[in-house]
Assembly symmetry: C2
Homo-oligomer: 259 residues x 2
């Protein structure tokens, strides 16, 4: 597995925050690295940015000739179905294995952890945040898939990786997870930015469903909608610095995150 | 010819400055558009960014199977040699035809113009600035080729496009142009940023030669050298905002630029 890691040069100080960025369909770890425009903000705010790939890779890894399934399209979950089960275990990789690797290799030591993502990566950030409440202090997303159980991208992926069990689907669906969440996560704000000229807005993204789910459970959601922006990395680049700043300014005084 | 143009949304106000960015060898107009990380700074400082291609293109256009000659490698000059003379007239295109096009199409109206570039584009920015003193108020460059007459990239290109006449070479060589320049350009600062881990620094770039030429003619040169940075777009991205700010803060009160 290849990944990107940006460690700010802070004159010997450690980065304060290790922020994981999950990319969208068809991306590798490289897209945000080259096109995200994130690094100046990382230096300014003392943030290390961890950029995993979007799926397992290699000739031995199951794949299918579709851009939205298989390699490049893991949906960051723990697959239970054949032939995916063997390698499509991105949940464990993102939440535990990769952070452990970069720490044990002394690449970065940060007191805080949070997560964000774009599109499919926004979905991954949201479900991993809800499913692992001790791993990430905060979550934010750019044009995320928030209701995978009811949109084509999510339905195809969940059927493929998780089978037909709707309980399994809901356990990775932010709209369901928001309504099940409890404790500190109920009072922590979530930030989402969404372009209003996003070509996938109506059919695949449906941010209003997550807005309703957060309202129903009392989670403060800061949903910012931007006229004129599409789904591309020009959109990501336009709001990346604001997300990095948002994460760095919302750190707990008492750090409780563990793996 | 394709090009990129970023026009900031300033709530109805015109951009103050039209800044032309010239790219380096092998690039198209797209590299800086996707990897430059320039647009937030353009909005902040009211700058429209014009991104030309690096050469003429197309099946009818002369080419050679080398990354540093022919298509993708015009050196932004006016070729006098066959078979290049017909299409390799990037000087006229960048200085006059393209700005006239974007203005006549009402894409942008800016009171000021300046120019910058990276590598071969840094060379182009410098020679066009010196050769057309009424066109650009300021020039800056990122890891530019400053002494083309004495480095392999420049010698190969000048021999190909300009023939063996050393006067023609010197008329596109910033080290020679700096020593010939007069009038207002003598007192206007030029900014150059250079990575010290740039793999082309010693053989192709030689910023010390331009430093000597500027010192000899009294041109204030702000040459900033950065340990740890290479020649890539990660370097460009790291200093792009500083260059956009620099250009926007050094505008004349009395605008005298013409085509």
């Amino acid at each position: 597995m290849r990944f990107g890691l940006f460690v700010p040069d802070l004159n010997g100080r450690d980065a304060t925050l290790l922020l994981t960025y999950l990319s969208g369909l068809t991306c590798t770890y490289e897209n945000v690295m080259t096109k995200g425009g994130a690094f100046a903000a990382c230096v300014e705010h003392g943030v290390a940015l961890l950029m995993p790939d979007t799926s397992p890779r290699g000739e031995q890894v199951a794949d299918v000739d579709q851009y939205d399934l298989g390699q490049g399209a893991s949906f960051y979950l723990s697959a239970t179905q054949e032939p995916w089960r063997a390698h499509y275990q991105m949940e464990r990789y993102v939440v535990a294995e990769l952070p452990a690797l970069v720490e044990s290799a002394n690449l970065v030591h940060a007191r805080h952890r949070s997560i964000m993502g774009h599109s499919m990566g926004g979905l991954g950030a949201l479900h991993l945040y809800f499913r692992h409440p001790n791993c990430y202090e905060r979550v934010s997303a750019l044009s995320p898939i928030v209701a995978p159980s009811v949109v084509p991208w999510g339905q195809a992926a969940f059927r493929t990786y998780l089978g037909e069990d709707c309980n399994a689907w809901h356990s990775y669906d932010p709209c369901h997870l928001a309504q099940r969440c409890h404790g500190e996560q109920l009072s922590k704000a979530i930030r989402i930015d969404q372009g209003l000229d996003d070509e996938f807005l109506v059919r695949q993204l449906k941010p209003e469903l997550f807005e309703q789910a957060c309202a129903a459970s009392g989670i403060p959601l800061d949903l910012q909608c931007h006229p004129g922006f599409d789904h591309s990395y020009f959109f990501v680049q336009s709001f990346m610095a604001a997300h990095i700043q948002w994460h760095s300014q919302n750190l707990s005084q008492n750090v409780k995150t563990t793996q």
